[in-house]
């Protein structure tokens, strides 16, 4: 072996080592964040956290029951807006893939996905909160819904493409019209995937704070109506984290732990289901 060859081999080993090193480097913050969220969060998490509403400043204790319910409410509302729009446009994008509208819509969905969430908050504030005159859960749901639309549209499109062409061709060969073939054969075949896509989108928006800051705002009490401000876990964690009180920091960690668990469970379930689906369709 010449010296040059040896140098090349050493260089190769070093670079391989470096690339493995970057993986370890990325895992360090992950481990640190998990360590703190779990250790601090578990210490502060108690029964009250899930059953009580926040206590006034100065009193210790209390919980985030209203914020947990509020988060679920806002996400549900967002899904209510986004699922029909996302799924229908996803069907169009995959089904009429050769039309200009399909390309433009896919591009718009990708663009919308890249719009900073705070900007969406500003827009919803201007179009919903200002005319209504006050913050509301409805506005928060719309903001989250706008964020979900591109996610759902793109997963729907991709999963419909995964459905084997033979299924559709079979339906068409039996004399089904195109819409019938899509609605009764192609979409049902992709349905489990679309549902996991929705779950994945929910996991993503459940952790959103910025679009809720000036739409759903926050509420220290139970919200009775969607036209009122609604508390959410994320905004509540933010409010507590900014405060100078030790007890509120404690609760912020607990809230973070609940959030992380919620988001993780959602994405793990969704990912397992997606893998399974991809295997099912031989990918």
């Amino acid at each position: 072996m010449t010296r040059r060859d040896r140098r090349r081999r050493i260089q190769s080993t070093i670079m391989t080592g470096l690339s493995a090193g970057t993986v370890l480097l990325a895992l360090v913050p992950l481990a640190l964040i998990f360590f703190f969220v779990f250790s601090q969060g578990l210490r502060s998490l108690d029964f009250d956290f899930f059953t009580q509403i926040p206590k006034p400043v100065g009193e210790t204790g209390g919980g985030m029951a209203n914020a947990i319910v509020g988060s679920l409410l806002l996400c549900g509302l967002g899904a209510l807006f986004a699922v029909p729009i996302g799924v229908a446009s996803g069907i169009y994008i995959s089904e009429y893939g050769d039309s200009w509208l399909s390309s433009a819509s896919r591009f718009a969905a990708d663009t919308l996905n890249g719009v900073p969430s705070i900007v969406i908050g500003v827009v919803v504030y201007a179009t919903v909160v200002l005319p209504m005159g006050h913050f509301s859960g409805l506005a928060g749901g719309i903001a989250l819904g706008i964020m979900m639309i591109p996610l759902i549209a793109r997963t729907t499109e991709e999963l419909l493409r995964l459905v084997p062409a033979t299924l559709r061709e079979g339906a068409l060969a039996l004399g089904a019209t195109r819409s019938r073939a899509v609605l009764t054969v192609v979409v049902p075949a992709a349905l489990p995937g679309i549902i996991t896509g929705v779950l994945l989108a929910l996991a993503r928006i459940a952790g959103e704070t910025a679009p809720l800051l000036f739409t759903a705002f926050n509420n220290a009490f139970w919200s009775e109506k969607l036209t009122q401000p609604v508390a959410s876990l994320t905004v509540q964690v933010y409010t507590y984290a900014k405060s100078p009180y030790e007890d509120w920091h404690r609760q912020a960690w607990a809230g973070s732990l609940v959030l992380v668990l919620l988001v993780m469970i959602c994405s793990i379930v969704a990912r397992l289901a997606t893998r399974r689906l991809q295997r099912m369709h031989g990918r």
Partner: protein, 319 residues
């Protein structure tokens, strides 16, 4: 497309779903229009001057957005500087270097990083990272701390804290797209290098060269993310509207100022100024995103199973 039986039902199906597809386009356009309309008070009052002045005085009604655009670009670029080598390293390791059976768990772990909500990064950054960076700054020798890049009192909340948090947040994002791009490189590229006697790293270099457009796209997509990131940055950057060269100086970003002051903005001018910042943030991220999508598109275009191949036996026969 093959001629299938068409019917009135088909047409209404196409129009029905098409309306929703059109809705998404309209939504993006509407965001731009609403932002523009709402920022009129500020646009009219300050014009281009808005982006050149450094005064931010809500009480006197005098607004200039220079510190915010500076802080946004500075923190995002610094984050990119940290995140890019790491992301590419991860992408290379997962797509080429590691054993195939290691791939799924590693992909899963990096995706776990992406799933953590931004507010949790913010809380961790504020309560853990910021104190740690303050210690780091105190530990620096005086000679280094005299440099403009590292000067300033050790307050902890700083541009550096924001950049580090942003880097942690965009690594999973950039690396997963870069990995997809690298996986799209035809195996023949690497195999040919190996056949010519290349080492593993040399073959990887060939693959990286082949995939360079897509990797630039992936990095830019991460940049777009960093520009618009709000919560985590708001909590660690110090929220001080003053453009400074030092990475230890508390600064401010466009997204952070909107998050902090929007609900408190009393008059139309203040609100307009904040919306104008939102408008420019929207335009910048739009440009970055469109550019990166175009780069990624040129990369993956060849690979995508073409729509035509799925359903046109006629074309297949012709080919």
């Amino acid at each position: 497309m093959t001629r299938t039986r068409t019917s009135a039902g088909d047409l209404s199906f196409r129009i029905g779903t098409g309306a929703f597809a059109l809705f998404i386009i309209a939504l993006v356009a509407a965001i731009g229009v609403v932002l523009w309309m709402q920022s009129r008070p500020s646009l009219d009052a300050f014009g281009l001057q808005f982006w050149r002045t450094e005064i931010w005085d809500p009480v006197a009604g005098n607004f200039g957005a220079l510190p915010f655009i500076w802080g946004t670009l500075y923190s995002s670029l610094l984050a990119l500087l940290i995140a890019t080598p790491v992301s590419i390293g991860i992408a290379v390791f997962i797509s080429h270097t590691c054993r195939p059976n290691w791939r799924p768990p590693l992909v899963f772990l990096t995706e776990l990083l992406a799933a953590i909500p931004s507010i949790v990064y913010g809380l961790w950054g504020f309560l853990v990272l910021v104190p740690a960076l303050r210690q780091l700054q105190l530990a620096l020798p005086d000679v280094v701390r005299a440099l403009p890049l590292f000067s300033g009192p050790p307050v902890g909340v700083s541009l550096l804290a924001a950049a580090v948090i942003l880097a942690i947040m965009i690594v999973p994002f950039t690396s997963s797209i870069a990995r997809e791009v690298l996986e799209a490189v035809p195996p023949a590229q690497r195999e040919a290098s190996f056949a010519l006697g290349a080492t593993s790293w040399e073959a990887t270099k060939v693959a990286l060269h082949y995939a360079r457009t897509g990797i630039v796209g992936a990095v830019m997509l991460g940049f777009g993310r960093a520009l618009g990131e709000t919560m985590a940055v708001t909590m660690v950057i110090g929220n001080t509207p003053k453009a400074a060269a030092s990475i230890f100086a508390p600064q401010y970003t466009m997204a952070a100022v909107i998050a902090n002051e929007f609900t408190e903005a009393g008059d139309a001018l203040h609100l307009g100024a904040l919306v104008e910042i939102g408008l420019v943030l929207f335009i910048i991220t739009l440009i970055v995103n469109v550019a990166s999508r175009l780069l990624l598109w040129t990369m993956t275009r060849q690979r995508r199973p073409s729509k035509a191949a799925v359903s046109t036996p006629a074309q297949e026969a012709a080919a």
